[in-house]
């Protein structure tokens, strides 16, 4: 077998072995595990996965010229550092980074197996196109040219909105930002990424409650908690390294409470475990709050000073007597009382939620109910408290902050003229030129009015299939989606698999840009107009990456891209050049090898994303933090001594002002006990100063050292003038700041002056327990669309259908109108496994992980198994009420309660009983394939964010 050098000398696909993998840097690899026991592998590895082992040739001395590169794991949001040992461009070893204050060298299964990314064989190795149903290798030039021509033709016929594209939370901040910018310069808001189906309800709910849509504290801060409540979060499998801090907190005396329909591996460590019916979080939280109010455990002073609208919540909570809570959730009075009492007696307490709390048709209500509970107990804005929202992907926070969102611009700037004008200035393009890129007709805004496409939120990743399949007349844009580009997104993470298959087949053009072929490449029966472009992994490109706690870590490039892979930014550049807007889009960057340097892109982000304080984190500062990781305290994340004395690890945003201002980053959001310049803060004033005559600004509360002792609005040039601080600006700053707010003043002068006076640029207001701009201003319990308790629908009905919502007709009531609970008696919920991540393509292609979970399964309670006549280990059909069915193994266990079944969502590559192996490009199929749980999931979307419902639907299980 010939060696393939990455430099991309053309080489025909090798036909060796069953996999036909033209490797191999393997020859450089030290040893060969497979060589150790080829026969054993043959005996154990599933099916056609056997590969003839090659004798390992090893470089002379493994310790000669070994380069140690510090990088950050790409498998969840914790942000574990690791040290890659690289020799001659080959990733030879992986060492723990003990100095990292986030993980202290620790990893989970995925992190510990990272080195495989350095020589993975199951990738899309070169650009490919489908010709008459078969994959054919093509060159990058040909790929870019053909894709570009087809896109331009579609644009010509149907306008820019006929392209929809999924960006990625796996991309670096720079990559994700370029993806959003790419969509903008293409002239569409039809871009989205994983955050939509991850924490969109959290971001919306939390941001609308107190200002920023992010984890308020950090994993490390949990060390200080006295009580840790985890609701719909299985950190032991989803964020294993976070458990290090949680268990340390527990060892320090904190009570660990886990509330989950499933007895998770996290629950196994809990002091109190509460099992409740999936989809009844609001009822459960109001049940807790009922006891809090009943016993006067709420923090009355805190509520007076810092919270608006809790009295309205109190009225709703009064309805949730212990009896009603038990009727709806199934949790008895004692358990609810015990949790409420434990939380009240152990303050500060932190509240953790994940997908279990977000992926629901009323997910934004759940989120806000959690918030209300925490506010009532005075737990927000304090160390050891907070809403610790554990996010999923390594950079899903960053991609949410500055990446491809259909409903806002980087930094959460609105899709309004002001937002666009701000970014047009940052990008150095003329606003009118940018506006001309967009569709010029007007769209239905869903409220009886018309709206310009540029200011209209695009179609979300959860609904793109409807954008394709829905009648053209019902789609609130010029034409259906005709082309889709999956740029780092596995579609098996979205619901309604069978419909997705049809949508894929209806598309005129499908482009998959990914290190792996992913399910996008195989689900459908397309014959033509389908392209696979190999994108580099996180380890093959440098860039910054925002962990869940908002720390922005810098990832060094470990190895050059393998095979013919290209980094996201290079692909963006090549496509933009072909599509004719590269010169405008890339004018601010330093271009090296057809690729903007990540440093120059980050600097542009720094120059624009004032609103969330993404401005102080210059590449130099971030690199200095990575180099001095050992100086940071594990609990406070604060550097003690050294060149970064007093700064918080990797400058968690907001890190206000210019890098020169040296804001230390904010460890704990809204913490009034600290000076703003030490990371202190207060709730954000983003909803005006009063509502129906009630004051929205904080009362008798301000962050330490603030010169305005009381509430104040966001800083603008006018406010500075009123306060008499205007003259503290330099002349240059004055010229820029005149008529601007702190978020649009590119000089940063307003912020500088506000901070100088100890004031928070975003004002000082109350948190909103009452969010009047949401469908349910006070969170209400509403039964899931597919509910096993149809008897409760009358009392707790869902929303009315809407004609236009994110450009699409969206149904609630008409779905709930039918009772499915008789034919489909089991609640179907889904979640993570520790071995795999997301859609799983990457991790199922990693032999060390794939070995551990080789089959898709469903967890089913012994009672339900007996009812369905199913034995442990038996193959069963799990059938959803919309017709999707999956053939999987039954795992009979008490881990799930009666009436609930659980499936992991990482599998793909099978479809309704059929293995799609033959459809993968040769040698690129993951080691482990299985039915995607979402083949059997159903319709259902959140009324604020279009979050999909994956945690509460119905199904039945029958022997196969």
């Amino acid at each position: 077998m010939k060696l393939v050098k990455r430099s991309g000398v053309a080489q025909a696909p090798s036909r060796d072995g069953v996999l036909g993998a033209p490797v191999s840097r393997r020859a450089f690899l030290r040893g060969s595990g497979l060589a150790l026991g080829g026969a054993a592998v043959a005996g154990v590895m599933p099916g056609a996965m056997v590969r003839k082992a090659k004798a390992a040739k090893r470089v002379t001395d493994p310790r000669a010229e070994i380069k140690r590169v510090k990088t950050v794991c790409g498998h969840c949001s914790v942000g574990c550092s690791t040290i890659a040992e690289v020799q001659n461009g080959v990733w030879m070893g992986q060492e723990p980074a003990f100095e990292s204050p986030i993980n202290l060298g620790a990893h989970c299964a995925k992190g510990a197996a990272l080195r495989n990314h350095g020589h993975s064989e199951r990738r899309t190795k070169y650009p490919m196109k489908m010709v008459n149903g078969r994959w054919q290798r093509i060159s990058w030039d040909q790929a870019i040219n053909e894709i570009g021509d087809k896109l331009l033709a579609i644009r010509e016929e149907s306008g820019p909105d006929a392209l929809w594209f999924a960006g990625s939370s796996k991309a670096s901040n720079e990559g994700a930002y370029l993806q959003r910018k790419f969509a903008a310069f293409w002239g569409s808001n039809n871009c989205d990424h994983q955050a939509r189906i991850c924490h969109s309800t959290t971001v919306a709910g939390v941001a609308n409650t107190w200002g920023y849509g992010a984890q308020t504290n950090s994993y490390n801060d949990i060390n200080k908690a006295k009580c840790i409540v985890m609701c719909g979060s299985n950190a032991a499998e989803a964020h294993p390294v976070a458990m290090q801090m949680i268990l340390r907190g527990k060892e320090g005396g904190a009570k660990l409470i886990v509330m989950d329909p499933r007895f998770t591996r996290t629950a196994a460590h809990a002091d109190i475990y509460v099992r409740f019916r999936s989809g009844t979080d609001v009822a459960l939280i109001w049940g807790l709050l009922w006891h809090v109010f009943e016993n006067g455990w709420e923090d009355k002073e805190y509520l007076r000073k810092r919270v608006f609208g809790m009295d309205r919540v109190r009225k709703e909570v009064a309805k949730w007597t212990p009896e009603e809570v038990e009727r709806v959730t199934g949790v008895g009075r004692e358990a609810v009382y015990e949790v409420a009492k434990t939380m009240a007696e152990n303050r500060p307490g932190t509240f953790v939620w994940c997908m279990g709390g977000t992926q629901h048709t009323v997910g934004s209500n759940y989120v806000r109910a959690y918030n209300c509970l925490q506010l009532a107990l005075g737990n927000i804005g304090v160390e050891g408290g907070g809403a610790n929202i554990f996010r999923g992907h390594d950079n899903v926070q960053g991609a949410t902050d500055v990446g491809p969102n259909p409903d806002n611009l980087p930094g959460y700037y609105p899709l309004a003229e002001g937002g666009w004008k701000h970014w047009a200035r940052v990008w150095g393009v003329d606003f009118d030129w940018l506006a001309a890129r967009f569709e010029q007709m007007e769209y239905d805004d869903g409220r009886g009015g018309k709206t310009r496409p540029m200011f209209t939120p695009g179609i979300t990743v959860s609904r793109w299939i409807d954008g394709v399949l829905e009648d053209k007349a019902n789609v609130a844009q010029r034409d259906n989606i005709r082309a889709a580009m999956f740029w780092g997104h596995g579609p098996n993470s979205q619901t309604r698999g069978p419909e997705m298959k049809r949508a894929f087949e209806k598309l005129d053009l499908l482009v998959v840009i990914d290190p792996y072929p992913s399910v996008s490449a195989v689900l459908h029966d397309r014959k033509e107009n389908t392209y696979l472009l190999p994108a580099a992994t996180q380890f093959e490109q440098a860039g910054s990456c925002t962990a869940s706690n908002r720390s922005i870590q810098w990832r060094e490039q470990v190895i050059a891209p393998l095979y013919e892979h290209k980094p996201d930014s290079e692909i963006a550049y090549l496509l933009a050049r072909k599509l004719g807007f590269a010169d405008e889009m890339f004018k601010n960057y330093e271009i090296v090898n057809n690729m903007p340097t990540p440093e120059s892109v980050l600097r542009e982000i720094n120059r624009g994303a004032w609103s969330i304080g993404y401005t102080g984190q210059s590449p130099e500062r971030l690199k200095a933090h990575m180099a001095n990781q050992g100086h940071f305290d594990v609990v406070t994340l604060k550097a003690q001594g050294g060149p970064l004395d007093g700064e918080t690890y990797c400058l968690p945003w907001p890190c206000y002002g210019t890098p020169e201002l040296k804001h230390p980053g904010t460890h704990v959001l809204y913490d009034t006990s600290k000076h703003v310049m030490e990371g202190g803060g207060n709730f954000r004033a983003s909803f005006g100063t009063e509502y129906e005559g009630e004051n929205l600004l904080a009362e008798d509360s301000w962050s330490k050292g603030a010169e305005i002792q009381g509430g104040y609005p966001q800083f603008t040039s006018d406010l500075l003038k009123q306060l008499g601080w205007w003259d503290e600006l330099t002349d240059a700053e004055k010229a820029e700041a005149e008529g601007k707010a702190w978020t649009t003043d590119l000089s940063g002068g307003i912020i500088r002056v506000a901070l100088k006076h100890g004031c928070h640029p975003f004002g000082n207001a109350k948190a909103r327990a009452f969010v009047w701009n949401f469908p349910d201003p006070v969170p209400l319990h509403r039964e899931p669309l597919y509910t096993p308790r149809y008897d409760l629908v009358a009392d707790y009905p869902t929303y009315e259908d809407r004609k236009v919502f994110y450009r699409l007709p969206t149904r609630w009531k008409s779905v709930q109108a039918r009772d499915y609970s008789r034919e489909f008696p089991l609640i179907h919920t889904s979640g993570r496994l520790v071995e795999y991540e997301g859609a799983g393509e990457e991790t199922r292609s990693n032999p060390y992980l794939a070995e551990l979970k080789q089959e898709m399964f469903v967890e089913i309670n012994p009672a339900d198994a007996n009812n369905a006549n199913v034995r442990d280990g038996q193959t069963v059909w799990l059938e959803g009420p919309e017709g999707g069915r999956i053939k999987i193994k039954a795992l009979v266990t008490d881990r799930v309660g009666r009436g609930t079944v659980f499936t992991p969502f990482h599998f793909g590559g099978h479809f309704q009983g059929e293995d799609l192996l033959a459809k993968y490009p040769e040698g690129s199929a993951p080691y482990v394939r299985g039915e995607s749980t979402n083949t059997a999931t159903t319709y259902g979307y959140d009324a604020v964010t279009m979050m999909q419902e994956t945690k509460t639907t119905l199904c039945r299980v029958v022997p196969a």
Partner: protein, 195 residues
């Protein structure tokens, strides 16, 4: 003299399999051979606990005692290693080991197993340190570089501890004191006797 030991803190172990994949990746252990594994007791039930198990490097190692060809040896700091050139794959160490540590690349008729493979405490084997032969047969030799087994170094929650028995038990004891409770040095009795 330092005595190398493993200790798994079951209160912290979350069955995340980091130890398993760290080992697999570091030594390129083939499919089906597991130098380390995680065992969960009462899986899915209240009281669920897990422990990561591998070769414990016993003081009076049963594997060494029963080996017909006497291929085991113990380093001065208590690491139990073996010589694959001598091993005949009889399987006796697998029967004898209380922890199920010995693994073989094959399992087939007529007792064909191949050479026994087990956790080396990341200390390689009887080949020149850092040689290719050592890596291919036994895996990386981290101990010679002053590093500890990667499974423990990468443990997600620092549940799995490895190193000098005195240091390890000190770390563990402090932790237990912090949380209140009695030490549960799981497996130490079986592996290290009363010392």
């Amino acid at each position: 003299m330092a005595r190398m030991k493993f200790l798994c803190d079951a209160e912290r172990c979350i069955e995340c399999q980091a130890c398993v994949t760290a080992c697999k990746s570091e030594h390129e252990v083939p499919w089906g051979v597991n130098r380390r594994r995680v065992i969960v007791m009462d899986d899915g039930l209240p009281g669920e606990k897990s422990v990561s198990v591998a070769c414990m490097h016993c003081s009076d190692a049963p594997c060494a005692a029963v080996c017909p060809v006497d291929c085991f040896y113990t380093t001065a700091d208590g690491i139990v290693l073996h010589d694959k050139d001598l091993c005949i794959g009889c399987g006796y160490c697998f029967y004898a080991c209380p922890f199920g540590a010995p693994q073989y690349p094959q399992q087939s008729a007529f007792g064909v197993r191949g050479k026994m493979d087990k956790c080396t405490f990341c200390a390689g084997g009887p080949e020149p340190t850092h040689s290719e032969a050592e890596y291919v047969k036994y895996g990386a030799n981290r101990v010679a570089d002053g590093k500890l087994p990667l499974c423990a170094e990468m443990c997600a929650t620092k549940a799995l501890l490895a190193g000098d028995g005195d240091v390890v038990s000190d770390i563990y004891r402090q932790r237990v004191m912090r949380r209140g409770g009695r030490p549960q040095t799981w497996g130490w009795q079986a592996a290290y006797g009363t010392t």
